[in-house]
């Protein structure tokens, strides 16, 4: 097999891995052992973006249609978008790009609105964790995980690319360009550039008046280059990423004297990283994967008191850097039994010019030992993860400031099983205990360091029952029913001290979550027609059990609706595609006090899109045909006023038109 075919096969195997594991089995060479390609844990939800008729604007827009996921959205193009999964806070949700975590030691929240879907092939959600051979140790360590997989260069022979221009409401203009090149000698290059500008203005109701959201504008530029190489029995890649943005924060909508703006706050970011990996099959049985990342993030936050007399005069700079190295080893003891050992090391540093900053440093180690048994119909995997973090920081004491250190560690066991009792029925189950370290903000926010903080713990038990009936040429029907129980204990909670700027963090929270995620999808193919419908429903009872003396004991925790769900519909005819989606979120509260003052009413929001594919000229080539796609996206089609986070109104009806050229 030539290197090109190997690479093509590898790309196909990895592309189809999550989509259909059996396909992977048949595509693999004879020397590949069953245990190496049979996944024990499958994604709870997964989207293969190149197959989607309409590409979502960002990763958050993909995730909001996943069951069990709540996207916390502060509204607007530049507004912060984070995710909770099954009531696990965003700090428990690991976001991975090609197996390497995108992290933020400062607050452990990744703004998914910044991640374009351009160049992303697959978005997958795992409850508990993903469990594949040659994972990094951190992939075993988070409570829930969102995996983004880069799209491989399409053009193994020659070059090709994609240009997309998107624009519409909120003064949005968003061009992006991607260009792939085969460099020969087992090398392919992908380069990407994307620019986004938006004035972020939209109308929203404020009691009996209508106001316009101000200071929500954004400009951002993203540049990326990825180099993929193949080796005899291996492959490697390097990925360089640069993102710069400048945006305004419109602030919460509150009562404010006429003439004073809500906000004049601005933030500029520069995020850079270089990451890469090298996978090698040394023998049929023994393989290794090395991954590395270096990242540097700069943030400038300025409240602009000269423009807003209500602003506290902050003009602050934060500098965050991180180095990461991972070695994963996998050994097939006797098919279908394998053993994996992954070891990760990471160093984080945070600097700032805010007064009396504690300049925290963290050296962290994560080790994961996993063993997998994978027959065709029954599979099981056990994992044991050790995580340790050594923090260094300045601390104030009666004698002045001194450098101190703290070591925190935790063991995280988990077990996953998979059973296919019938050809059309699959059952997954998992049990997991995981921890998340306190973030730098948790530890040192405004100097109130609480060095006795321990990692926050999440215990999870979940069952996944799937029924599937498929005849790819004619129809498919998939039903998933997933009950679960989660308990988050030692939850880190922020408590202000005598001054509103001085908060301290305590391990006082305990939340019990009992829930059910369900999803049903049915589709039919009839000649030129393809029709598909999806129903989603989630039940989530997330109760505060922190303090039995408290008046809020047993109440639903903030921002988690008891019922939520949605309905989706997709139709394709020839070169036309039409999509409709209605998301429904039940009533919820913005406080643990479940009283009327803090009740957020149920809402339902519908989005629609239509697209048309055209072939520019029909060359009878054996290669790619240049194609042009026109898409119209309509957001919030009924112009429903709603808020996801109280005080942050979401946009009403909006429209974006995009033109995409692929060659």
């Amino acid at each position: 097999m030539s290197w090109r075919r190997t690479l093509a096969a590898l790309a196909l195997v990895s592309a189809s891995w999550g989509v259909n594991a059996q396909e992977a089995d048949t595509l693999s060479a004879a020397t590949v052992y069953g245990v190496q390609v049979r996944p024990v844990v499958r994604a709870a939800e997964e989207v293969y973006l190149p197959q989607q008729p309409i590409s979502p604007q960002n990763v958050a827009a993909v995730l909001q249609h996943f069951t069990g996921v709540q996207v916390k959205d502060y509204g607007g193009v530049g507004g912060l978008k984070t995710v909770n999964v099954r009531s696990l806070g965003s700090e428990h949700v690991g976001i991975f790009l090609d197996g390497i975590q995108i992290d933020n030691a400062q607050n452990m929240q990744v703004d998914l609105g910044r991640f374009s879907t351009d160049g992303i092939a697959m978005v997958s959600l795992y409850n508990g964790q993903k469990s594949r051979r040659l994972q990094t140790a951190k992939e075993y360590a988070s409570g829930a995980a969102v995996h983004l997989r880069s799209e491989r260069p399409k053009h193994f022979f020659g070059s090709g690319g994609r240009f997309r221009l998107r624009g519409g409401s909120f003064g949005t203009v968003n061009p992006s360009l991607m260009w792939d090149k085969d460099l020969g000698r087992s090398l392919t290059l992908r380069t990407q550039a994307e620019f986004l500008t938006s004035n972020g203005k939209y109308k929203y109701p404020f009691f009996d008046t209508t106001l316009v959201r101000e200071n929500g504008d954004i400009r951002s530029l993203r540049l990326e280059a990825q180099l993929y190489g193949s080796l005899r029995r291996g492959e490697w890649n390097v990925h360089a990423y640069a993102y710069g943005s400048e945006r305004g924060f419109p602030g919460p909508v509150i009562r404010r004297a006429t003439g004073f703006p809500f906000s004049a706050e601005r933030q500029a970011d520069q995020d850079l990283f270089v990451q890469g990996g090298w996978d090698q099959n040394w023998t049929d049985r023994y393989s290794t994967a090395v991954k590395f990342k270096y990242s540097y993030d700069y943030t400038h936050y300025d409240t602009h008191p000269e423009k807003n007399p209500m602003a506290m005069p902050y003009d602050l700079h934060y500098y965050q850097s991180s180095g990461y190295l991972s070695l994963a080893q996998s050994y097939v003891l006797a098919d279908p039994w394998s053993i994996d050992l992954s070891t990760d090391g990471q160093f984080n540093a945070l600097d700032s010019d805010i007064g009396q900053f504690v300049t925290p440093r963290r050296a962290a180690f994560t080790g994961a030992l996993a063993t997998t048994l994978a027959w065709e119909r029954f599979r099981a995997a056990a994992h044991l993860v050790y995580m340790g973090a050594w923090d260094f920081f300045d601390t104030p004491s009666a004698g002045g400031w001194s450098r101190e250190d703290t070591y925190r560690d935790a063991w995280m066991p988990s077990l996953s099983v998979f059973w296919r009792p019938l050809q059309w029925m699959e059952i997954d189950a998992y049990a997991k205990r995981s921890y998340r370290l306190p973030s730098f903000n948790d530890l040192y926010y405004s100097q109130m360091g609480n060095s006795s903080l321990v990692p926050e713990q999440a215990e999870q038990f979940g069952l996944d029952i799937r029924f599937s009936e498929r005849k790819p040429a004619n129809y498919h029907l998939d039903i998933r029913i997933s009950p679960y129980f989660n308990r988050v204990s030692n939850k880190i909670v922020a408590i202000p001290t005598s001054s509103q700027f001085r908060w301290t963090m305590l391990n006082i929270g305990l939340v019990d979550v009992t829930g059910l995620d369900t999803r049903a999808e049915a589709g039919i193919n009839r000649g030129d027609w393809f029709l598909e419908g999806t129903l989603r429903y989630s039940l989530q009872q997330a109760l505060d059990h922190s303090d039995s003396e408290s008046r809020t004991y047993g109440n639903q925790i903030p921002y988690i609706p008891l019922h939520s769900g949605g309905i989706g519909f997709e139709a394709r005819y020839g070169y036309w595609s039409l999509c409709w989606d209605t998301s429904v979120s039940g009533g919820k509260w913005s406080r643990t006090a479940n009283i009327d003052d803090y009740y957020i009413k149920p809402w339902s929001i519908s989005d629609a899109s239509i697209s048309r594919l055209c072939y520019l000229y029909d060359l009878d080539t054996r290669g790619m045909v240049p194609e042009l796609t026109f898409t119209l996206n309509l957001g919030n089609v009924f112009n429903t006023p709603y808020q996801i986070v109280q005080g942050y109104p979401m946009p009403g009806f909006n429209a974006l038109l995009s033109v995409e050229l692929n060659w």
Binding site: R255, T258, G259, P309
Partner: protein, 376 residues
């Protein structure tokens, strides 16, 4: 007007003080021990910054109802409610003046029925004092010393604060005077205003990263700063004992300077009276303080709260069995009767409790962060 007049006529037959809020009811509490010249006690709940959930409660002494959310109830036309972060409340005559910090509003309502009289625009108002026809409001917003008239900014990166002067009759701002960094408490005695400058934000800003430690003295006639008295870092509250002594509480620097209380005497001498003050309230010539020696313990362990009094510059122990987890507001009703607001977890509604003879008598649910009280 005619309708009101009619209501008054009918109401008068039963109630000497007819009020539009008479229909509001809430939790019933025991009002014995509260001085008979008080008709209402108001609680201003701060709410959480950015959540627009500051609320006004009141305790009606005539029937012992503790009513929450009265501003919104009595002013339905003001859809946004009282606003964001109610930081101070003062009763002036038959009016209630409230500094709604993050709304940029000094809200004036009728003490009789909580209906709005005026909403006065003042940037980041903090605390209120009054004297002789004027209310004086401390403000952190120095960048707009003459907001709306003059955009000249001397040092907007680390601006000094202001005291705004508001005409009690017209409710109009009549000038401002620059004081120190992030002024907080303000008190008036004998034609002089005493302003506690905290430097709470200044301490985090380059190049000096330092707290303010001065009390600015303003002559009310000339409305000019006539002196600065150095006390201690991070000043918070100012109280006049009516006899020429000014008490100033401090928050400390959170590591090697404790919170405490100091006294400035009539000759501007500064005397340290005690460490450890979290909340304080004055009644007559006596300042009541509650604090904890464990104030630098951030572990969340339960704290022991101690009370003491300051009178004529002397400290005396005082018995108050504070059982609140987070005492946040203190109100001295005279004698042995106190109200204490408990912020709880600072996030959900807190409680207000009445203490008599050192012990808790009753507790009601208030709004979020009940920190400020005033009696009418």
């Amino acid at each position: 007007m005619l309708f009101c007049a009619l209501v008054s006529v009918f109401a008068c037959q039963k109630d000497p003080i007819p009020s539009k809020d008479a229909d509001l009811t809430g939790s019933k509490v025991d009002v014995s021990g509260i001085p008979s010249d008080i008709s209402k006690i108001f609680t201003l709940n701060e709410g959480s910054m950015g959540s627009n959930n500051s609320t006004l409660d009141f305790l009606r002494i005539s029937d012992g109802n503790y009513i929450t959310g009265a501003f919104k109830e009595m002013n339905p036309a003001i859809g946004a409610g009282l606003g964001d972060v109610g930081n101070d409340i003062v009763v002036i005559g038959n009016e209630v003046w409230m500094a709604i910090n993050n709304s940029g509003i000094v809200e004036v309502v009728s003490a009789r029925d909580e209906t709005e009289i005026a909403a006065i625009q003042v940037p980041t108002p903090r605390n209120i004092a009054y004297d002789n026809g004027y209310a004086y409001v401390t403000s952190w917003a120095g960048a707009y010393a003459n907001y709306g008239a003059d955009y000249s900014i001397t040092d907007y990166k680390n601006p000094k604060g202001q005291v705004y002067r508001i005409n009690l009759r017209t409710k109009k701002v009549e000038g401002s005077v620059q004081v120190g960094y992030q002024p907080e408490g303000i008190a008036c005695y004998n034609g002089k205003l005493y302003v506690a400058n905290s430097g709470g934000i200044s301490s985090q800003l380059p190049p000096n990263y330092s707290y303010d430690s001065t009390v600015s003295v303003i002559d009310t006639k000339s409305f000019k700063v006539t002196g600065n008295i150095t006390v201690q870092v991070n000043l918070k509250g100012v109280f006049s004992d009516g006899k020429g002594n000014i008490y100033v509480t401090t928050l400390g620097n959170y590591y090697n300077v404790n919170s405490g209380v100091y006294m400035i005497d009539a000759s501007n001498n500064v005397k340290h009276i005690s460490d450890f003050v979290s909340i304080a309230a004055i009644s007559g010539d006596t300042l009541y303080c509650v604090g904890t020696e464990q104030e630098l313990d951030w572990s969340g362990a339960p704290k022991t709260w101690k009370a003491f009094t300051c009178k004529d510059g002397s400290k005396a122990s005082f018995s108050l069995n504070v059982s609140e987890t987070t005492p946040y507001g203190l109100f001295a009703l005279g004698g042995d009767t106190f109200l204490i607001g408990d912020a709880g977890n600072y996030f959900d509604p807190g409680t207000v409790s009445l203490y008599r003879n050192g012990n808790k008598v009753w507790t009601v649910t208030s709004g979020v962060c009940p920190g400020h009280f005033a009696a009418w």
